[in-house]
Point group: C3
Chain length 109, copies 3
Protein backbone atom coordinates (compact mmCIF):
# COMPACT_ATOMS: atom_id res chain seq x y z
CA UNK A 1 0.00 0.00 0.00
CA UNK A 2 1.78 3.12 -1.19
CA UNK A 3 -0.86 5.79 -0.85
CA UNK A 4 -0.05 6.81 2.71
CA UNK A 5 1.54 10.25 2.88
CA UNK A 6 4.22 10.74 5.51
CA UNK A 7 6.05 14.01 6.05
CA UNK A 8 8.23 15.58 8.74
CA UNK A 9 6.52 18.59 10.27
CA UNK A 10 6.72 20.64 13.42
CA UNK A 11 3.93 20.26 15.93
CA UNK A 12 2.91 23.38 17.82
CA UNK A 13 0.99 23.01 21.06
CA UNK A 14 -0.19 26.45 22.11
CA UNK A 15 -1.66 26.68 25.62
CA UNK A 16 -3.36 29.94 26.52
CA UNK A 17 -6.46 31.44 28.05
CA UNK A 18 -9.48 30.59 25.95
CA UNK A 19 -10.48 34.22 25.58
CA UNK A 20 -7.35 34.80 23.45
CA UNK A 21 -7.86 31.76 21.24
CA UNK A 22 -8.93 33.76 18.22
CA UNK A 23 -5.71 35.73 18.17
CA UNK A 24 -3.86 32.44 17.69
CA UNK A 25 -6.23 30.86 15.18
CA UNK A 26 -6.33 34.09 13.13
CA UNK A 27 -2.54 34.18 13.07
CA UNK A 28 -2.41 30.53 12.01
CA UNK A 29 -5.00 31.19 9.30
CA UNK A 30 -2.97 34.11 7.96
CA UNK A 31 0.19 31.99 7.98
CA UNK A 32 -1.56 29.51 5.70
CA UNK A 33 -2.07 26.79 8.29
CA UNK A 34 -5.10 24.83 7.19
CA UNK A 35 -5.88 22.68 10.16
CA UNK A 36 -5.73 22.71 13.92
CA UNK A 37 -7.38 20.93 16.81
CA UNK A 38 -8.46 22.54 20.06
CA UNK A 39 -8.59 20.86 23.46
CA UNK A 40 -10.95 22.89 25.64
CA UNK A 41 -11.32 23.40 29.39
CA UNK A 42 -7.83 22.62 30.57
CA UNK A 43 -6.68 23.31 34.08
CA UNK A 44 -3.25 24.73 34.59
CA UNK A 45 -0.80 26.09 37.05
CA UNK A 46 1.72 28.67 36.02
CA UNK A 47 3.25 31.84 37.30
CA UNK A 48 -0.22 33.39 37.31
CA UNK A 49 -1.52 30.85 39.84
CA UNK A 50 -3.80 27.91 39.45
CA UNK A 51 -6.55 27.91 36.84
CA UNK A 52 -9.01 25.15 37.70
CA UNK A 53 -11.06 24.53 34.59
CA UNK A 54 -14.20 23.14 36.07
CA UNK A 55 -14.38 25.66 38.92
CA UNK A 56 -14.11 28.73 36.71
CA UNK A 57 -17.07 31.06 36.85
CA UNK A 58 -15.94 33.14 33.92
CA UNK A 59 -16.07 30.74 30.99
CA UNK A 60 -13.62 32.89 29.05
CA UNK A 61 -10.86 32.33 31.59
CA UNK A 62 -10.34 28.61 31.08
CA UNK A 63 -7.27 27.39 29.25
CA UNK A 64 -7.29 25.85 25.78
CA UNK A 65 -4.62 23.97 23.90
CA UNK A 66 -4.44 24.54 20.16
CA UNK A 67 -2.59 21.74 18.37
CA UNK A 68 -1.34 22.17 14.83
CA UNK A 69 1.35 20.84 12.49
CA UNK A 70 3.29 23.15 10.19
CA UNK A 71 6.20 22.94 7.77
CA UNK A 72 9.48 23.90 9.46
CA UNK A 73 9.85 27.17 7.52
CA UNK A 74 6.63 28.47 9.09
CA UNK A 75 7.77 28.00 12.70
CA UNK A 76 9.84 31.15 13.02
CA UNK A 77 7.34 33.51 11.34
CA UNK A 78 4.54 32.11 13.49
CA UNK A 79 6.62 32.39 16.66
CA UNK A 80 7.56 35.96 15.83
CA UNK A 81 3.88 36.70 15.37
CA UNK A 82 3.16 35.21 18.79
CA UNK A 83 6.02 36.98 20.60
CA UNK A 84 4.31 40.31 21.38
CA UNK A 85 1.28 38.40 22.61
CA UNK A 86 3.27 36.18 24.98
CA UNK A 87 5.12 39.19 26.32
CA UNK A 88 1.80 40.45 27.62
CA UNK A 89 -0.33 37.36 28.22
CA UNK A 90 -0.08 34.07 30.03
CA UNK A 91 0.61 31.06 27.84
CA UNK A 92 3.21 28.75 26.41
CA UNK A 93 4.10 27.15 23.08
CA UNK A 94 5.63 23.67 22.78
CA UNK A 95 7.40 22.89 19.48
CA UNK A 96 8.28 19.29 18.60
CA UNK A 97 9.15 17.04 15.67
CA UNK A 98 6.46 14.84 14.23
CA UNK A 99 5.68 12.76 11.19
CA UNK A 100 2.25 13.43 9.80
CA UNK A 101 -0.05 11.66 7.42
CA UNK A 102 -2.65 13.59 5.44
CA UNK A 103 -0.19 16.42 4.83
CA UNK A 104 -2.64 18.14 2.53
CA UNK A 105 -4.69 19.19 5.54
CA UNK A 106 -1.79 20.89 7.26
CA UNK A 107 0.34 22.37 4.52
CA UNK A 108 -0.09 25.38 2.30
CA UNK A 109 -1.67 24.52 -1.08
CA UNK B 1 16.13 3.04 42.36
CA UNK B 2 16.49 0.75 39.38
CA UNK B 3 12.97 -0.52 38.86
CA UNK B 4 11.83 2.25 36.51
CA UNK B 5 11.35 0.94 32.97
CA UNK B 6 12.29 3.31 30.17
CA UNK B 7 11.93 2.44 26.48
CA UNK B 8 11.92 4.31 23.19
CA UNK B 9 8.54 4.05 21.51
CA UNK B 10 6.54 5.86 18.86
CA UNK B 11 3.62 7.93 20.02
CA UNK B 12 0.60 7.99 17.74
CA UNK B 13 -1.92 10.78 18.12
CA UNK B 14 -4.92 9.97 15.97
CA UNK B 15 -7.46 12.78 15.55
CA UNK B 16 -10.74 11.83 13.90
CA UNK B 17 -14.49 12.12 14.19
CA UNK B 18 -15.70 10.36 17.30
CA UNK B 19 -18.12 8.21 15.36
CA UNK B 20 -15.17 6.40 13.75
CA UNK B 21 -13.29 5.86 16.98
CA UNK B 22 -14.02 2.15 17.13
CA UNK B 23 -12.42 1.54 13.75
CA UNK B 24 -9.17 2.86 15.20
CA UNK B 25 -9.35 1.17 18.58
CA UNK B 26 -10.28 -2.15 16.95
CA UNK B 27 -7.29 -1.85 14.61
CA UNK B 28 -5.02 -1.04 17.56
CA UNK B 29 -6.41 -4.00 19.50
CA UNK B 30 -5.75 -6.33 16.58
CA UNK B 31 -2.21 -4.98 16.23
CA UNK B 32 -1.55 -5.98 19.82
CA UNK B 33 -1.56 -2.48 21.29
CA UNK B 34 -2.60 -2.86 24.90
CA UNK B 35 -3.24 0.68 25.99
CA UNK B 36 -4.51 3.97 24.68
CA UNK B 37 -5.98 7.16 26.04
CA UNK B 38 -8.79 9.13 24.46
CA UNK B 39 -9.32 12.89 24.68
CA UNK B 40 -12.97 13.55 23.91
CA UNK B 41 -14.86 16.54 22.58
CA UNK B 42 -12.15 18.34 20.67
CA UNK B 43 -12.83 21.22 18.36
CA UNK B 44 -11.03 21.35 15.06
CA UNK B 45 -10.63 23.12 11.81
CA UNK B 46 -9.53 21.28 8.73
CA UNK B 47 -10.29 21.08 5.06
CA UNK B 48 -13.79 19.91 6.00
CA UNK B 49 -14.53 23.18 7.82
CA UNK B 50 -14.78 23.98 11.47
CA UNK B 51 -15.99 21.39 13.96
CA UNK B 52 -16.92 23.15 17.19
CA UNK B 53 -17.10 20.45 19.85
CA UNK B 54 -19.50 22.03 22.28
CA UNK B 55 -21.91 23.29 19.61
CA UNK B 56 -22.36 19.92 17.90
CA UNK B 57 -25.92 18.60 17.95
CA UNK B 58 -24.94 15.15 16.81
CA UNK B 59 -22.76 13.83 19.61
CA UNK B 60 -21.15 11.38 17.23
CA UNK B 61 -19.69 14.17 15.12
CA UNK B 62 -17.27 15.65 17.64
CA UNK B 63 -13.57 14.99 17.26
CA UNK B 64 -11.58 12.70 19.51
CA UNK B 65 -7.86 12.22 19.86
CA UNK B 66 -6.63 8.69 20.54
CA UNK B 67 -3.15 8.65 22.06
CA UNK B 68 -1.08 5.50 22.14
CA UNK B 69 2.54 4.36 22.25
CA UNK B 70 3.78 1.48 20.12
CA UNK B 71 7.08 -0.22 19.30
CA UNK B 72 8.58 1.16 16.09
CA UNK B 73 7.99 -2.04 14.11
CA UNK B 74 4.23 -1.63 14.57
CA UNK B 75 4.05 1.88 13.08
CA UNK B 76 4.01 0.87 9.43
CA UNK B 77 1.50 -1.98 9.75
CA UNK B 78 -0.81 0.26 11.77
CA UNK B 79 -0.45 3.12 9.30
CA UNK B 80 -1.16 0.82 6.39
CA UNK B 81 -4.27 -0.33 8.20
CA UNK B 82 -5.35 3.28 8.62
CA UNK B 83 -4.61 4.33 5.03
CA UNK B 84 -7.87 3.26 3.36
CA UNK B 85 -9.79 4.93 6.18
CA UNK B 86 -7.99 8.26 5.87
CA UNK B 87 -8.47 8.21 2.11
CA UNK B 88 -12.21 8.41 2.74
CA UNK B 89 -12.59 10.15 6.11
CA UNK B 90 -11.44 13.30 7.80
CA UNK B 91 -8.61 12.88 10.28
CA UNK B 92 -4.90 13.02 10.87
CA UNK B 93 -2.20 10.95 12.57
CA UNK B 94 0.82 12.49 14.29
CA UNK B 95 3.80 10.16 14.88
CA UNK B 96 6.58 11.20 17.26
CA UNK B 97 9.44 9.78 19.33
CA UNK B 98 8.92 9.26 23.02
CA UNK B 99 10.42 7.50 25.98
CA UNK B 100 7.88 5.60 28.00
CA UNK B 101 7.80 4.09 31.44
CA UNK B 102 5.50 1.16 32.22
CA UNK B 103 6.26 -0.41 28.86
CA UNK B 104 4.30 -3.51 29.79
CA UNK B 105 1.07 -1.61 29.29
CA UNK B 106 1.92 -0.56 25.73
CA UNK B 107 3.89 -3.42 24.26
CA UNK B 108 2.93 -6.83 22.93
CA UNK B 109 3.55 -9.64 25.41
CA UNK C 1 12.18 40.46 16.77
CA UNK C 2 14.68 38.93 19.16
CA UNK C 3 12.73 38.75 22.39
CA UNK C 4 11.31 35.26 21.85
CA UNK C 5 12.84 32.74 24.22
CA UNK C 6 13.44 29.25 22.82
CA UNK C 7 14.90 26.42 24.86
CA UNK C 8 15.17 22.65 24.56
CA UNK C 9 13.23 20.94 27.33
CA UNK C 10 11.70 17.56 28.04
CA UNK C 11 7.95 17.27 27.92
CA UNK C 12 6.35 14.92 30.42
CA UNK C 13 2.85 13.66 29.77
CA UNK C 14 1.65 11.85 32.86
CA UNK C 15 -1.59 9.90 32.46
CA UNK C 16 -3.13 8.54 35.65
CA UNK C 17 -6.36 8.24 37.60
CA UNK C 18 -7.57 11.67 38.61
CA UNK C 19 -7.74 10.73 42.25
CA UNK C 20 -3.93 10.47 42.33
CA UNK C 21 -3.34 13.77 40.56
CA UNK C 22 -2.15 15.57 43.68
CA UNK C 23 0.64 13.09 44.23
CA UNK C 24 2.05 14.08 40.86
CA UNK C 25 1.51 17.82 41.13
CA UNK C 26 3.01 17.86 44.64
CA UNK C 27 6.06 15.99 43.38
CA UNK C 28 6.40 18.43 40.47
CA UNK C 29 6.06 21.38 42.85
CA UNK C 30 8.78 20.00 45.10
CA UNK C 31 11.04 19.42 42.09
CA UNK C 32 10.76 23.14 41.30
CA UNK C 33 8.50 22.75 38.24
CA UNK C 34 6.56 25.97 37.98
CA UNK C 35 3.91 25.18 35.45
CA UNK C 36 1.77 22.37 34.20
CA UNK C 37 -1.46 21.87 32.32
CA UNK C 38 -4.08 19.25 33.09
CA UNK C 39 -6.42 17.63 30.57
CA UNK C 40 -9.37 16.25 32.51
CA UNK C 41 -11.86 13.44 31.88
CA UNK C 42 -9.89 11.23 29.56
CA UNK C 43 -11.00 7.77 28.61
CA UNK C 44 -8.45 5.04 28.49
CA UNK C 45 -7.83 1.39 27.98
CA UNK C 46 -4.95 -0.33 29.65
CA UNK C 47 -4.16 -3.54 31.41
CA UNK C 48 -6.68 -2.53 34.08
CA UNK C 49 -9.53 -2.57 31.55
CA UNK C 50 -11.43 0.21 29.89
CA UNK C 51 -12.02 3.48 31.73
CA UNK C 52 -14.79 5.36 29.91
CA UNK C 53 -14.60 8.96 31.10
CA UNK C 54 -18.19 10.01 30.56
CA UNK C 55 -19.68 6.80 31.95
CA UNK C 56 -17.82 6.91 35.25
CA UNK C 57 -20.01 7.20 38.33
CA UNK C 58 -17.15 7.85 40.66
CA UNK C 59 -15.74 11.19 39.51
CA UNK C 60 -12.42 10.39 41.13
CA UNK C 61 -11.86 7.44 38.84
CA UNK C 62 -11.55 9.28 35.54
CA UNK C 63 -8.15 9.67 33.95
CA UNK C 64 -6.26 12.95 33.72
CA UNK C 65 -3.20 13.89 31.71
CA UNK C 66 -0.74 16.28 33.36
CA UNK C 67 1.49 18.00 30.80
CA UNK C 68 4.65 19.78 31.85
CA UNK C 69 8.04 20.79 30.48
CA UNK C 70 11.20 20.42 32.51
CA UNK C 71 14.95 20.86 32.06
CA UNK C 72 16.62 17.57 31.17
CA UNK C 73 18.45 17.27 34.51
CA UNK C 74 15.10 17.09 36.32
CA UNK C 75 13.78 14.12 34.33
CA UNK C 76 15.56 11.38 36.27
CA UNK C 77 14.85 12.74 39.77
CA UNK C 78 11.19 13.20 38.85
CA UNK C 79 10.96 9.72 37.33
CA UNK C 80 12.58 8.18 40.38
CA UNK C 81 10.03 9.98 42.51
CA UNK C 82 7.24 8.52 40.38
CA UNK C 83 8.61 4.96 40.33
CA UNK C 84 7.14 3.66 43.61
CA UNK C 85 3.78 5.14 42.63
CA UNK C 86 3.70 3.49 39.21
CA UNK C 87 4.69 0.17 40.75
CA UNK C 88 1.40 0.25 42.64
CA UNK C 89 -0.96 2.32 40.51
CA UNK C 90 -2.21 2.42 36.95
CA UNK C 91 -0.66 5.11 34.78
CA UNK C 92 1.99 5.97 32.25
CA UNK C 93 4.54 8.72 31.61
CA UNK C 94 5.56 9.82 28.10
CA UNK C 95 8.84 11.74 27.83
CA UNK C 96 9.69 13.65 24.64
CA UNK C 97 11.91 16.43 23.31
CA UNK C 98 10.41 19.86 22.80
CA UNK C 99 11.39 23.43 22.23
CA UNK C 100 9.58 25.83 24.51
CA UNK C 101 9.03 29.53 24.56
CA UNK C 102 8.36 31.33 27.86
CA UNK C 103 10.96 29.23 29.62
CA UNK C 104 10.59 31.29 32.78
CA UNK C 105 7.26 29.59 33.46
CA UNK C 106 8.73 26.09 33.34
CA UNK C 107 12.23 26.39 34.69
CA UNK C 108 13.61 26.83 38.17
CA UNK C 109 14.74 30.41 38.92
Amino acid sequence: MNNLKFSPLKKLEIILEGEHQEFVTDLLDHAGVKGYTIVNNLSGKGSQGFHEGHLMFNEDAVLNMIITAVPEHLVNPIMEGFAPFFNKHSGVVFVSDIQVTRLEKFNKN
